[in-house]
């Protein structure tokens, strides 16, 4: 008896799988930036420090290299140190407020979501 029922239950399962998959692909379209803020505190904390320092390091590196090539000893290093620091803060800002957005510019309607959590 149980074996006779098996094919129908498999077909049923197949239909349910297809329905579930369709509903998922339907919802996933459009809201591509959804899971961004759901990383948890520890993951975010580990990211912030390195992001800050890495941009500063890149800035200093570019400054030193350009100084070496152009012979403008300390000036470009100073400029790129400041730019690197700014980029570092921009990185931290992005970690805190969602990736892919520039400082000060948010997608319309995004503020309400951020204020709630």
């Amino acid at each position: 008896m149980a074996e006779g029922e098996k094919p129908t239950s498999l077909k049923d399962l197949d239909e349910r799988l297809r329905a579930a998959r369709n509903s998922r692909t339907g919802t996933a379209k459009g809201d591509s930036g959804k899971g961004r803020g759901e990383q948890g505190g520890l993951g975010t904390a580990l990211r912030v420090g390195v992001d800050l320092v890495a941009a500063l390091g890149v800035g200093v590196g570019i400054g030193l290299l350009l100084d070496y090539w152009l012979g403008t000893k300390p000036w470009l290093l100073i400029v790129f140190f400041l730019l690197g620091a700014a980029a570092g803060f921009l990185n931290v800002f992005r970690v805190a407020s969602g990736y892919g957005l520039a400082a000060g510019y948010k997608k319309p309607g995004d503020e309400d979501v951020k204020d709630k959590d």
């Binding site: 998922r24 759901e38 520890l42 580990l46 390195v50 941009a55 730019l83 690197g84 700014a86 980029a87």
Partner: protein
């Protein structure tokens, strides 16, 4: 007593020199090969039966598959499915490398900046090529946030470029520093056990707790590495 940094030393197992370049098969390479064999074994043995009702082993394989599939769907959306093989490979390689390093007497290849930077630069260059292939010259608008007033351009463009260039560095340094610091700390505290005699029970308890924490970090860092890869792919596909 052995130095706590001795565990990170690289020894050639099969010395090889090609055109003056040292390409020896080292203990680092050996552990990478072991990682690949373990991943392949895990996937193939787990999916051997392909049962409709999975056993525990198959469950673990399906769990890791669904974890990455959901991550891709949440961060990139449906276009992200194309990149599943790459993202899954990166995740499994880093995760198994981290976990393999947690077994005693083993070598942690993810604690070497060369390995993590190699992974990160491949991701960085790949994502940049992807952005150019998808958007052509329009990709440069990535460095200019929409709605920026003209006087701000000379200031914002260098900042955005530096921020973009810092990606492979922060990606690689994060993983490398976490693994290096964790494993050094474990060895340092383990060294106190022998020194303190009977009172060594205190650092021993510490080591037990830290081992648990290190396993958490192993998972977490593999996860962070993967989710950042996904976010970078997403940025290249959608720009701002």
């Amino acid at each position: 007593m052995a130095s706590p940094l001795e565990q990170f030393e690289i020894h050639p197992i099969i010395p090889l020199q090609v055109g003056g370049v040292d390409i020896s098969f080292t203990n680092s390479s050996l552990y990478m090969v072991i990682t690949l064999v373990l991943i392949a074994g895990f996937m193939m043995l787990g999916m051997r039966h392909r049962a409709l009702v999975p056993n525990r082993f198959q469950c673990a394989v399906e769990l890791s598959y669904e974890f990455i599939a959901n991550l891709l769907r949440d961060t990139i959306g449906n276009e992200g499915r194309k990149y599943f093989p790459f993202v899954f490979t990166v995740f499994m390689f880093v995760l198994f490398g981290n976990l393999l390093g947690m077994t005693p007497y083993s070598f942690t290849f993810t604690s070497h900046i060369v390995v993590t930077f190699g992974l990160a630069i491949v991701i960085f260059i790949g994502v940049t090529i992807l952005g150019f292939a998808k958007h052509g010259i329009h990709f440069f608008s990535f460095f200019l946030p929409p709605g920026t007033p003209l006087p701000m351009w000379p200031l914002l463009i260098p900042i955005e470029v530096i921020s973009y260039l810092s990606r492979p560095i922060s990606l690689s340094v994060r993983l490398f520093a976490n693994m290096l610091a964790g494993h050094t700390l474990l060895k340092v505290i383990a060294g106190f056990i022998a020194m303190l005699g009977v009172f060594g029970i205190v650092p021993f308890a510490f080591v037990v707790v830290l081992t648990g924490l290190e396993i958490l970090i192993a998972f977490l860092q593999a996860y962070v590495f993967t989710i950042l890869t996904c976010l970078y792919i997403n940025d290249a596909l959608h720009l701002h």
